[in-house]
Amino acid sequence: MYVYDEHDRQLAAERVAQFRDQTERALAGELAEDEFLPLRLQNGLYIQRLAPMLRICVPYGMLRSNQLRRLARITRDYDKGYAHFTTRQNVQLNWPALEDVPDILAELAEVEMHANQTSGNCIRNTTTDQFSGVQADEITDPRPYCEIIRQWSTFHPEFAFLPRKFKVAVNASEHTDRAAIQVHDIGLQMVRNEAGELGFRVHVGGGLGRTPMVGPVIRQFLPELDLLTYLEAVLRVYNRYGRRDNKFKARIKILVKALTPEGFAEKVEAEWQHIKDSPTRLTREAIERTQSYFTEPDYAALDNATDLLATQRFEHRGFDQWLTHNVDSHKKPGYAIVNLTLKKTGTPPGDVTDQQLEQIADLADEYSFGEIRVTHHQNVVLADVRQDQLLELWHAITPMGFATANLNTLTDVICCPGGDFCALANAKSIPVAEAIQRKFDNLDYLYDLGNIDLNISGCMNACGHHHVGNIGVLGVDKKGDEFYQISLGGSSHHDASIGKILGPSFARDEMPEVISKIIDVYVDKRTEEETFLDTYRRVGIDPFKERVYA
């Protein structure tokens, strides 16, 4: 994992001092509310429905145990004793006091954390696959490239006041995309060209929100050393020509669409020609230096514990289910990737208490080299667990509430904080998630249904990624009442697609039954081996419509 050097430490300290000064001027009335707004947003600070909300950055989703312990302490000392893991792999506090935020930032800086650019019209936290570095099918570890992008984008003087927020995601797996890169402003797929050289396929102009789009490819192969100069060219074209007259049309996807992907790509190439050989061009040395922070932990030389696990599975049915659903294979023999689910019914998806944060820190130290990853599905990953310790770990996490063996099933819901917390929301989302989780409480039935992404957003801003849910739920406001619109057929993976709206919206108490009917259609129509998405793509939306609105 990346470790700050004296430059990073100095910049972090200067940032804290800057924000302290800005907060003091804001509280003294020297900064008008609209002048302070972008400054506080670039420090992750929202003024929310009930209180301020602070979004703390977790670069590409990685945390160390000491950072988790500090987060736990911060939630106790400055908040209400819990935090929320978000779909951008970040952490949110829902109740900090404005005047405490500089102190919170100072506490974070002590453990090499910050809240830089977690909001505002600037380049946000770069995200990636939570299994980076530990899976067998990745082209290379994407995290060093994410760190390189993090540094380049941090306090970038030219791109701090873009037309709108800007999100970059990197994926290096050949067969899956857990980073949803095609629905980002820039999606970078790591590839090797025919000569075996490493580079990126560049998608630009994907995104959710009001006008959801899958990002087209604007460059099939970008050599790795050209990463930053090319990003700079894309951002400069966007900064200059992105629309600023209407915030709903200000995302880069609208510009790409207006110019056509080809036209946009030409503009970027023309810009890039001027700067591609500038000193911003990466060096082999810079990449290797960054890679040196992401070396393998001190793995033991092990064999796969196949027989042991088979015996343990036989003895413990719950362990068997958990192993099947929440544990993934690891590139190293004798190790496994463990997903701690934060989707226990009755707890808002992604919420963790201060105690749970400390428990996760202890688990990381005990079982996974002191590191964890946050997933964009709002779960937590211990990436390096010995197979012969899995049963012990399962026993440990079951009472903590992290062993709900529903990963990737219907009840592993992505859900934004919604109207319970967020000032933007039109409707509550957490109670909808909970009602659906209660309706589908039979694990065997969930396993029979297979992988289904159910994503819930409380408003058009789509923090819950409803457009790319196989089943998407969007909270809408109708004359002051909360209703919910369903879409079907979305995907955020390699086969990315935007869901199609089923029809008129429903009242909240109808939602579990509506989801149930949709599932019934799938069960009726599926062939063996078909996932929900496969069946939907084969039969289309009409059978679902007929059943739901019958």
Partner: protein, 168 residues
């Protein structure tokens, strides 16, 4: 008369006036006794009248394209870029293009909705004169120009990004 901040935070006064774009059918109203900044495209259209005049500079608005002055920028003693709203970031790109691509060496001035917390970004993007919005506390400019001792990226102030400095 504008108070102008320099990159080191020192304050001076000068009397450059920004001449607004004339309305349709009107002509440019250049003051007789003061140096003036005129819209860049109008300067270009009549540049034979202005070349060599130390009292005529130009200004760009945030949506203007500085490309129109490619090859001519150093005929101008001052170029100003207007920030119509502090949150309109196009001026930063204009600054870098003027400095890095078109090789502009004379004064580059930030005008308009220029606030304290944007000064260091402006400095890094090549601006070396700042006309702060008058209601802001100019004595705080020096501090705000120097919140950060260095940057991660190359920009107009340094062409050596931190990753290259770390290597040396």
């Amino acid at each position: 008369m504008p108070k102008v901040i320099s990159p080191d935070g020192s304050i001076r006064q000068d009397n450059w006036v920004v001449v607004p774009r004339p309305a349709e059918g009107e002509s440019l109203d250049i003051p007789a006794d003061q140096p003036a900044l005129i819209p860049a495209d109008l300067w270009l259209a009549g540049h034979e009248h202005f070349t060599g005049r130390a009292d005529i500079g130009v200004w760009f608005d945030s949506h203007d394209e500085p490309e129109i002055l490619d090859g001519r920028v150093n005929e101008l003693p001052v170029i100003a870029v207007n920030f119509p709203k502090f949150s309109d970031g196009r001026g930063y790109s204009i600054g870098r293009l003027l400095r890095e691509r078109f090789g502009y060496v004379n004064e580059l001035r930030a005008i308009g909705d220029v606030l304290l917390d944007q000064l260091q970004f402006m400095k890094r993007c090549g601006f070396d004169a700042y006309v702060l919005r008058p209601d802001k506390d100019i004595t705080k400019a020096q501090k705000c120009l120097n919140f950060f001792s260095q940057g991660y990226q190359a920009a107009t102030d340094t062409d050596i990004p931190l990753f290259r400095r770390r290597a040396s």
